[in-house]
C-alpha cells in the first residue's frame, strides 16, 4: 500500500482508549506502507482475542481463524503460496495457551512466517483472566488468591523449538516496532516478535509506565547469532532489565526453501488440474 489511509477499512477501531494494540496497528501500517505490502503480496491471519480485531481495521487480505489456531492456518497458506508475506497476529492466550503446540511446531519447522505476539499478559477479550504470561501472584477473576504459576517465556520456548528469528519490542515505541516487523518479515524462516502490549483495562501490572521504565534496547554488544546469549536475553525480565530488539537470528533455510516442489514456483501457481493415473493403475495389477 502506498499510504496508511489506503490501509483503513470502513470499520472503526474499537479497542479501549489507551490500549497497546493501537501501537501495533500503527507500526504495522507504517511497515506495510514502507514495504508496499498489499493484496497481491501479503496475507494476514489472526486468532481470537482483542488482538484479532486488528484484521477488521486493515485493508489487507486476511483470515480470522479460531482461538489458538492462527498459526496452522498461516502454515498452510504459506505452503500453498510461499510468495506471500504471511503475518500472524496472536495473543498470549491464543499463542501460548490454546495454541502452544502450533507455536513450537511452526518454530521447529522454521516456516517463513512472522508471528506478532500481542503480549498483554492477560486474557483481554474474555474480561481479564490470568494468562500464561501473567506474573506470579497476579490477581484476577481466575486467580483471586494470586497466580501460583510461573509465567511462560515465549522466546526461550521458541528458541528451544528451533525458531530462527526472535525479537521483542514495546508497542509504545512505534518506530522500533516497525523496524522489528520489517526485519522479521525479511528474515527467511520462522520469526516471532513478542510485543509488550499494555492492556489498560485489565492488566495493572504491565502498564505503559512499567514498560517505559523497565525496557532497554539491546546494543551492538549483543551477538544475535549466539544462541546461549540469546537464551540469556530471552529469559531476562524484571525491573530495569527487559531487553528489546532482535535477540536471535540465524540463517538456516526455511521449510519452504527445503521443500523440493516449491523450488520451481508456488503450489498455487500450478493451477489445479486433472491428473492421469495410468502409471499408478498399472502398478495395481
Amino acid at each position: 500500500m502506498k499510504t496508511t489511509e489506503e490501509l483503513l477499512t470502513p470499520v472503526s477501531c474499537n479497542w479501549c482508549t489507551g490500549c497497546g494494540n493501537f501501537g501495533i496497528w500503527t507500526a504495522f501500517k507504517k511497515a506495510a506502507v514502507e514495504k508496499d505490502w498489499n493484496n497481491y503480496n501479503t496475507a494476514l491471519v489472526a486468532g481470537i482475542g482483542c488482538h484479532g480485531h486488528i484484521l477488521n481495521f486493515l485493508n489487507l487480505t486476511s483470515f480470522e481463524g479460531l482461538h489458538g489456531r492462527a498459526i496452522p492456518v498461516a502454515s498452510g497458506l504459506k505452503l500453498a503460496n510461499h510468495k506471500l508475506n504471511v503475518f500472524v497476529f496472536t495473543g498470549d492466550g491464543d499463542c501460548l495457551s490454546e495454541g502452544g503446540n502450533h507455536f513450537i511446531h511452526a518454530a521447529r519447522r522454521n516456516q517463513n512466517i512472522t508471528v506478532i505476539l500481542h503480549d498483554n499478559a492477560v486474557y483481554g477479550l474474555t474480561t481479564g483472566q490470568t494468562s500464561p504470561r501473567s506474573p506470579k501472584g497476579y490477581v484476577s477473576k481466575s486467580t483471586p488468591f494470586g497466580n501460583i504459576e510461573e509465567p511462560l517465556s515465549p522466546l526461550p520456548l521458541a528458541l528451544s523449538a528451533g525458531a530462527t528469528f526472535v525479537a521483542r519490542a514495546y508497542e509504545g515505541d512505534i518506530e522500533h516496532l516497525k523496524e522489528m516487523i520489517i526485519r522479521a518479515n525479511a528474515h527467511h524462516g520462522f520469526s516471532v516478535i513478542q510485543v509488550l502490549q499494555p492492556c489498560v483495562t485489565f492488566n495493572h501490572v504491565y502498564t505503559h509506565i512499567f514498560y517505559q521504565q523497565n525496557i532497554y534496547k539491546l546494543g551492538r554488544e549483543h551477538n544475535i547469532s549466539d544462541k546461549s546469549a540469546a537464551f540469556a536475553k530471552a529469559f531476562e525480565w524484571g525491573l530495569n532489565k527487559i531487553p528489546v530488539g532482535v535477540i536471535y537470528e540465524s540463517g538456516q533455510p526455511s521449510y519452504e526453501e527445503l521443500t523440493p516442489l516449491l523450488k520451481t514456483g508456488t503450489l498455487v501457481s500450478r493451477k489445479s488440474k486433472k491428473r492421469n493415473l495410468d502409471k499408478l493403475f498399472d502398478k495395481l495389477r
Binding site: E64, P72, V73, L77, N81, S272, K273, R285
Partner: protein
C-alpha cells in the same frame, strides 16, 4: 452356494508380513483371470498378535469377504484355534506337521502337511516360511508358478536380486513339495483363464488416487489407523504429481493448515479416523462459516475413543452430520467400496469448490484396508470444476456477497482483492458483524447452498436387485459388498444403498421405502444410525434391523441366513 467364490486364507503371528502375502496372493489370482476380495485382520500391535488374510476369488466380481474358508494355511496354533470352525466341509487345512498344531479329528477337513519351517530353515531364514506356504498353496490350487514368480520378482525388486532369488526358491520349494506329495488333492481352481484387464486396490489407495485425479494440491494428514495408508500413498508421489503432503503436529493443525492452503486457492484435504476427527470438529465449522472448501476423509474404526483401532465399524454417521456447534452446510458422502471411494473423492473436490464448504468422505476400516479387484476405473468424464472463483481483481469485491443460490464469488488470497474470511459472523465483505439483518442474511446464504446442492447434484440412493422384491434391504457405505454377495443367493430381495448422506435424499428414500413390501436396515453399529436418520428425515422408522458392532464386517453367509429368516 453355486456362485460362491473360493476363499483362501492364511494366518500367523503379526510381524511376518501376512498382509503383503495376502496382496501377492490376490494379484496372483487376479493375473490368473479372477476377481478377488482380500480382507485383513490384525490387532493394534506391531508384533505378537494374530494376523490373517482371507481372499475370496471368483470369475465374477467379488464384493465382500466370506467367513467360510475353503483353504486355510495355518502358520501357528492360533490360526487353527480361531479359524478351524470356519473351514468349509471338505475344505483344506495346510499346516506344518512339525509344529504339532492340535488338529481335531473327526472334522471333514483335508489336512495337508507341508514342512514350511524345515524348508525355510534349510533355505536360510525362518521368515521365508510364508513364501514356502505360498508356493505350496499355489500348487494345491493348480495355479501357475510362472505368475507367482513374476509377482515375487516385482515385489522384491527394490531389495535386490538376492532377495528375489531366495524368495523364488522358497516358493518353488513349497510348490514342488506340494506337487510331489499331494498331487491327488490338487484342485484346479486357480488355473489361469482369459479375462478382462483388472486391477486390485484398497480404499485408501482409491481415495488417494481420487484426490490426485481431482487435482489435489495440499494434504495434511496425521497418521491414524485406518487411513494412514493414504499418506503413505501420497507422500512418495509429491514431487512427481506436484502436491505437498505435510505431516502436522496434530489433527487440529491438519485441518487448519488445509483451510489455510485452501484460502490461498489450493485444493486441500485431510484424512483421519474418529479420534482425529474429534479434534477437527472445531475446524470443520471454521471451514463452514468462512466458506473455505476442504475435503475430509474419515475412516471409521471400532469406537468410542481408542476403541478397536484395527477393526471396522460404521459408528460415526450421526456424528458426521452434527459435529460442531450450530449449523452450516456440510456435504457427507459414504462410498460403498474402493471404486465409489475413488469417484466420490474426485467428486468431493468439485463439490467443496462448488459449494465452498467442507465435504466429508466417510469410509471405514473395511473399505480402507480391504483389497478388491475392479476393471480399471473409468474417469474420462471427470472434469475439474472450481465453481465460482476468480483470479482477477474485482471492483468492490465482497467475499460473502449474497446470491440466489447462496454461493458467493471466491477469490483466493494473493489475487489483489481484499479478501477477508472470518470465523466471526460477518457482513458481505467479511467484516465482523452482529446485526440481525446481516446475521440472518449470511445464515440463510450459507444454508441455501445445501438446498442448491440438493437440487443440482444427483444424490439418490441406488437400488440393486429386482425393482419388485419381497424384502428390501437398506444400508449405506461398506455393507454394500456383503449385501450384494448375499443378494446373489436371494433373487427376491433388493437393496437400497445410500452413498449420499448430506444433503439427504429424503424424497427418493421415502419413495423407495414406501414401495417396499418389507424392510430391513443393515448397519455395522449399535443403534442403527441410518435408521435414525431415515426416521428423522422421512418419518419412516424401519423396525427391523440387522446390526453388529464387534469390529468384524458382515459376511455374506450370515446375511443370507439372516435375510432368509425374513422371507
Amino acid at each position: 452356494m453355486s456362485s460362491t467364490p473360493f476363499t483362501f486364507s492364511m494366518g500367523g503371528e503379526a510381524g511376518y508380513g501376512i498382509a503383503s502375502t495376502g496382496l501377492s496372493f490376490s494379484k496372483l489370482a487376479m493375473r490368473s483371470g479372477y476377481y478377488c476380495y482380500t480382507y485383513l485382520e490384525y490387532p493394534s500391535l506391531i508384533r505378537g498378535g494374530h494376523n490373517v488374510f482371507l481372499t475370496s476369488f471368483s470369475r465374477l466380481p467379488v464384493g465382500g469377504t466370506y467367513r467360510t474358508i475353503d483353504f486355510l494355511v495355518a502358520l501357528n496354533h492360533e490360526t487353527v484355534d480361531r479359524h478351524l470352525d470356519n473351514i468349509a466341509k471338505g475344505g483344506i487345512l495346510m499346516h506344518d506337521g512339525t509344529q504339532k498344531l492340535s488338529l481335531p479329528a473327526g472334522k471333514s477337513v483335508h489336512y495337508i502337511d507341508i514342512p514350511f519351517m524345515g524348508i525355510a530353515r534349510k533355505l536360510g531364514a525362518i521368515l521365508l516360511r510364508d513364501m514356502v506356504a505360498m508356493g505350496a498353496s499355489v500348487a494345491m490350487l493348480g495355479g501357475s508358478f510362472d505368475v507367482l514368480e513374476e509377482i515375487i520378482r516385482e515385489e522384491f525388486v527394490k531389495k535386490g536380486e538376492d532377495a528375489i532369488r531366495t524368495n523364488i526358491d522358497a516358493a518353488k520349494a513349497g510348490f514342488v513339495h506340494a506337487t510331489k506329495h499331494f498331487s491327488p488333492a490338487i484342485r484346479k481352481i486357480l488355473t489361469p483363464i482369459k479375462s478382462d484387464k483388472k486391477m486390485i486396490i484398497n480404499g485408501n489407495e482409491a481415495t488417494a488416487f481420487g484426490g490426485l485425479a481431482a487435482g489435489l494440491q495440499f494434504a495434511a494428514i496425521y497418521p491414524m489407523t485406518p487411513t494412514s495408508n493414504i499418506l503413505h500413498v501420497l507422500a512418495p508421489l509429491q514431487e512427481e504429481y506436484g502436491l505437498v503432503y505435510k505431516q502436522p503436529e496434530d489433527e487440529i493443525s491438519a485441518i487448519n493448515m488445509a483451510i489455510g492452503a485452501s484460502f490461498a486457492g489450493a485444493r486441500s484435504m485431510v484424512a483421519t479416523s474418529g479420534g482425529g476427527f474429534c479434534l477437527m470438529t472445531e475446524g470443520l465449522g471454521l471451514a463452514g462459516i468462512t466458506e473455505t472448501p476442504i475435503v475430509i476423509i474419515e475412516g471409521m474404526r471400532g469406537a468410542p475413543a481408542t476403541g478397536l483401532p484395527t477393526w471396522t465399524e460404521q459408528g460415526d454417521l450421526q456424528f458426521m452430520l452434527h459435529a460442531h456447534q450450530g449449523e452450516f452446510p456440510r456435504i457427507v458422502l459414504a462410498p460403498g467400496d474402493a471404486e465409489e471411494a475413488f469417484h466420490l473423492t474426485m467428486e468431493a473436490f468439485n463439490l467443496a469448490d462448488r459449494y465452498q464448504t467442507p465435504v466429508i468422505v466417510l469410509i471405514d476400516k473395511l473399505i480402507c484396508e480391504s483389497f478388491q479387484s475392479f476393471k480399471p476405473f473409468e474417469y474420462d468424464k471427470y472434469k475439474i470444476d472450481q465453481g465460482k472463483i476468480t483470479y482477477d481483481v474485482i471492483k468492490n469485491y465482497q467475499r460473502y456477497g449474497l446470491s440466489a443460490d447462496g454461493i458467493s464469488l471466491r477469490a483466493p488470497a494473493g489475487t489483489g482483492n481484499h479478501v477477508m474470511e472470518n470465523s466471526d459472523e460477518h457482513d458481505t465483505f467479511g467484516f465482523s458483524s452482529e446485526e440481525i439483518e446481516v446475521r440472518n442474511a449470511q445464515m440463510k446464504k450459507r444454508m441455501t447452498k445445501l438446498l442448491t446442492c440438493a437440487k443440482r447434484e444427483s444424490t439418490e440412493p441406488k437400488l440393486y436387485g429386482p425393482a419388485k422384491a419381497d424384502l428390501t434391504v437398506v444400508g449405506w457405505g461398506s455393507t454394500k459388498g456383503a449385501v450384494l454377495e448375499a443378494l446373489k443367493e436371494l433373487p427376491k430381495v433388493n437393496f437400497l444403498h445410500l452413498n449420499w448422506i448430506s444433503p439427504f435424499p429424503s424424497e427418493a428414500v421415502a419413495k423407495h421405502l414406501k414401495k417396499a413390501k418389507k424392510l430391513v436396515n443393515i448397519e455395522l453399529n449399535y443403534s442403527g444410525q441410518l435408521g435414525n436418520i431415515i426416521a428423522e428425515k422421512t418419518g419412516i422408522r424401519i423396525e427391523d434391523n440387522i446390526l453388529k458392532c464387534d469390529g468384524r464386517p458382515f459376511y455374506p453367509e450370515e446375511l443370507v441366513s439372516e435375510l432368509k429368516k425374513r422371507l
